[in-house]
Symmetry: C2
Subunit: 231 residues, 2 copies
DNA sequence: AGAAGTGATGGCACTCAGTACCCTCGATTA
DNA sequence: TAATCGAGGGTACTGAGTGCCATCACTTCT
């Protein structure tokens, strides 16, 4: 029922456009009553984002159950990856939706309010877990916004390319940039290389590398290669 | 005419609520025809943000006319201050509007799409002026989002306090945090702090790199390159 | 089995935002 | 004086969203 409504809606939206399609058109094609549409979707816009409500719940639970001694920024990055995975799970659908939201202002506005709720959840998590820090609330808002922006950047680039290519890699790079900018131990110039290699357990083996500044790069690479390649 | 519509609308919105007020109520109180309302405001929501369209134009022109050899990040921060000044110019109005947008989902969504257009303009400016840098587009999106988040944080804090206190000071602090996070090390604008908090990198010459086993080599190399070759 | 409850669905009527079209009126201009 | 034009007003329409009630299938209790 839900599925048939979504299917009928997208068929019509892609064919004749979002605004040119009425609820009556959708329910007629789906073969259900008009009233039933609003039982499954609170608004016409919501049928375009059928999985976001569940994804938001999933993300919220993930953050709630995250270990209290972990790095909140990393946890928030991982939460963003959760959302990205939802998009990546159905590239065709995501690309079609992207084309729709790009040209229909009403859908863009609706997507913004959906994304805003993700950002709120991230900021709240950072605020709670990053307590004790000066400017904690400010930092929480800014980092959450940056993570969302990085997510959106990677996602949009991938969607614009028609869903071809490696979203995850783009996401790694984008989140890496954000994490580096906001990590305590180092500025944007590097260090903090622990940025989001996929969500491994915290007790995973790590390599610690010490090098003097000015060390020839080839030498470092040789050492790192030996240490990392062993796995 | 425009003013009388705004005045009538806010009077009713604050009295009986946004959704409980119809367009007919507003035009009846203002003593004008219903059709005239939509001549001045494209939607019921727009009457709550009467000055944003002009402010967006103003901000766009400011960025367009900004000197080409200035720091784009600083220019974007100044553009955000422009918007903040618009709010600060009428504290009572801004506080009333804040209370409305906080509790009416439709208004929140509308505000989000307004803010999104500001963010777009900032990102575009950063993309154009910050050319030549690797990851320029990503950086533009993230910095724009961070600046907007800092602006919103300072603004919301001030609005929650009822419009009392110094917004400009809060804005300085918030933007300062963002600028510090994204400044290149040894950047031209003072305080070469390369990270969020005060922890300056001690002057010793050792770089510590942490990486999980299985980390792609290219990423390690990238980070090491930045850390070792940076100075 | 029959009655009664329950949840999913369909139908109908209504409110209200937003739009298209046309009217009026006053001011300007040929 | 006649033609034009622009601001405002009125009317009727479309379509989203809601409330209310009827229907139907399925279950549960007696």
């Amino acid at each position: 029922m839900r599925e048939s409504l979504i299917k009928a809606a997208f068929q019509l939206f892609l064919d004749r456009g979002f605004e040119q399609t009425t609820i009556d058109d959708i329910v007629a094609l789906a073969g259900v009553g008009r009233r039933s549409f609003f039982r499954y979707f609170p608004s016409k816009e919501d049928v375009v984002f059928p999985d976001h409500e569940g994804c938001l719940v999933e993300m919220t639970e993930y953050l709630r159950d995250a270990p209290a001694d972990g790095d909140p920024v990393q946890q928030v990055c991982e939460a963003a990856r959760l959302v990205l995975r939802m998009y990546a799970a159905d590239p065709l659908f995501s690309v079609q939706r992207y084309r729709l939201t790009r040209e229909v202002p009403g859908l863009r506005a609706h997507e913004l309010s959906v994304v805003w709720r993700y950002e709120l959840a991230l900021a709240e998590h950072l605020r709670e877990r990053g307590a004790g820090r000066a400017d904690g609330a400010l930092r929480a808002d800014v980092v959450a916004a940056a993570v969302v922006a990085a997510h959106n950047h990677a996602l949009r680039t991938w969607l614009r390319a028609g869903g071809e290519g490696d979203v995850q890699a783009a996401m790694d790079q984008a989140l890496g940039y954000v994490v580096r900018a906001f990590s305590d131990s180092a500025g944007p110039h590097g260090g903090g290389g622990t940025d989001g290699v996929d969500g491994e357990r915290p007790d995973e083996e790590v390599v610690v590398l010490l090098a003097r500044k000015g060390t020839p790069l080839w030498r470092v690479v040789r050492d790192v290669e030996g240490a990392l390649g062993g796995s």
